[in-house]
């Protein structure tokens, strides 16, 4: 099951367009920033953390985040998450949910800010435990499945606690990071 939540508000009309459409394609333009609250109120995947410096959190136990309906095994229907600096957007499907220390799979449907899918990007995933200052002994494997779909495997979180999965994306002329929270128990 993919129970997905999101902490960061999509900052402009990209979110409005993409969330309203529920589509990965065909969005256009950038709405004024003042529309963000409207977007947040109307979009099921937006949260009240407007402007908060919080990474996207796919964990189910964040009390102030509403659960977001998710469709199992179909990443294209899941909420859109902006990258840390808003350069890219993506839908994530994490299995299983809640996450486990090993064997998890993260699917990513990568888009640009217009909602166009981004195949062929260079994607690197790095687990990191901020409070402890260390990563994982295993290096995640990223497979480009084509069509903007990427699958990240070989994940290992060696200790209970709050981890980040840093998904670095680079395309010609652009790079950014998705920081996804894993609460490991």
């Amino acid at each position: 099951m993919g129970l997905v939540r999101m902490h960061r508000v999509w900052t402009a009309a990209t979110l409005l367009t993409l969330a309203a459409c529920g589509s990965t394609q065909g969005s256009s333009g950038v709405a004024p920033a003042k529309d963000a609250q409207t977007i947040q109120d109307s979009a099921p995947d937006a949260t009240s953390n407007a402007g908060a410096d919080v990474a996207p959190d796919l964990a189910p136990d964040v009390p102030d985040q509403p659960d977001v309906p998710a469709v199992a095994n179909d990443v294209s229907t899941l909420p859109i998450v902006p990258s840390d600096n808003g350069t890219f957007a993506a839908r994530f499907l994490r299995t299983p949910e809640p996450p486990t220390p090993s064997g998890d799979v993260l699917e990513m449907l990568l888009m640009d800010t217009t909602g166009a899918l981004l195949p062929g990007a260079t994607v690197k995933a790095t687990p990191w435990m901020p409070a402890m200052g260390h990563g994982s002994p295993k290096t995640p494997v990223v497979v480009d499945d084509g069509g903007g779909h990427y699958t990240i495997t070989n994940l290992l979180f060696t200790m209970p606690g709050k981890w980040q999965l840093r998904v670095d994306v680079s395309t010609p002329g652009a790079q950014d990071r998705f920081t996804i929270i894993y609460a490991i128990q």
Partner: protein
């Protein structure tokens, strides 16, 4: 026994100049000693060598909000063989202590074969000064100086002799990570007062500072990381029962500040950890040999700790050789 003594002396020499990072409590002189400490030389003793085997099975974890979670995705367990001791080079109030852990760790995850590894942990050395000595007569003895407690001041260093996370073998899934990868210094103050000849109460505090270590910064470079400074306060109770038995209990609370990376505080990384324990000591051969059985418990209630990855009960058994 002679062979063991020789081995003990050799180890003591090897560990010379060192000091036990964890603060130690003044012990009863030539009698059953405080069971909650390891490798502390008693007031009338010249040296001590000790070994301790400990086991801990972890059942829970505390997140950064203080919420306790039962471990569901892994079943870790540790065993530690601790070797160390102390020595008074001038037979005076100053002693040198050292401890070296040898760790066995097992990590089991649902989708992986269980992994285990053995390795040396972080060694600790310390210098300890007993500034005041309790006469151990109790406060009702009517003797001069009967109110003076034991006062111990210590400074210690923990060295990164264990394997740090970034040096771990990918196939070991973290089981081979036996150290912090950073130097740490600790300052300690301990006060222990025998209110009667049999009962003593103590309080103490350890202040620790971890130095920076280089960690990946996530952008292909390195940055400096250090856990936050921490203060651990501890209360102890000790009861002597004749010359051969003693038992006691302790409660400790550790407060750690936020960690820092690249000079910036890491949000939600502060640590809190409450812990209690009890132990009983039996003198096997007065005054040379004694053994201690100890148990310790982590909290299980909400807000009993924060940012503590593993919590669970532990048990330890130590054997100690005193030299007069």
């Amino acid at each position: 026994m002679t062979r063991i003594s020789l081995i003990s002396l050799r180890l003591l020499v090897l560990l010379l100049g060192a000091l036990l990072g964890r603060a130690a409590l003044a012990q009863a002189c030539c009698s059953a000693s405080n069971p909650t400490e390891f490798g502390v030389v008693g007031p009338c003793q010249h040296a001590a060598i000790a070994t301790q085997i400990g086991y801990q099975s972890y059942s829970g974890t505390y997140d950064e909000t203080g919420k306790n979670h039962k471990l569901t995705g892994m079943s870790p367990q540790d065993a530690t063989l601790l070797i160390g001791g102390g020595w008074r080079p001038l037979r005076g109030p100053v002693q040198i202590q050292a401890a070296l852990p040898l760790r066995w760790q097992q990590r089991a995850y649902p989708t992986m074969a269980s992994q285990s590894a053995v390795g040396v942990g972080d060694a600790a050395v310390a210098l300890r000064w007993t500034a005041l000595e309790d006469k151990m007569t109790g406060v009702l003895a009517g003797e001069p100086g009967m109110y003076l407690p034991f006062l111990d001041l210590a400074a210690g260093v923990k060295m990164p002799t264990g394997r740090a996370t970034e040096d771990g073998n990918p196939d070991k899934a973290g089981a081979d990570v036996t150290g912090d990868g950073a130097w740490q210094v600790t300052a300690t103050v301990r006060v222990l007062k025998y209110v009667t000849r049999q009962h003593a109460f103590g309080i103490g505090a350890d202040y620790s500072h971890q130095f920076d270590r280089s960690v990946p910064d996530g952008n292909g470079g390195k940055s400096k990381f250090a856990k936050g400074d921490s203060l651990e306060v501890r209360g102890t109770w000790l009861q002597l029962h004749g010359m051969y038995w003693s038992w006691g209990a302790f409660a400790s609370y550790l407060m750690g500040a936020d960690a820092h990376q690249a000079g910036v505080a890491v949000p939600d990384s502060a640590v809190r950890h409450f812990r209690v324990g009890a132990s009983v000591t039996r003198v096997l051969s007065l005054p040379a040999w004694e053994t201690t059985l100890g148990v310790a418990l982590d909290p299980w209630w909400q807000d009993g700790a924060r940012n503590v990855p593993y919590v669970g009960p532990s048990v330890s058994l130590s054997l100690r050789r005193n030299f007069l």
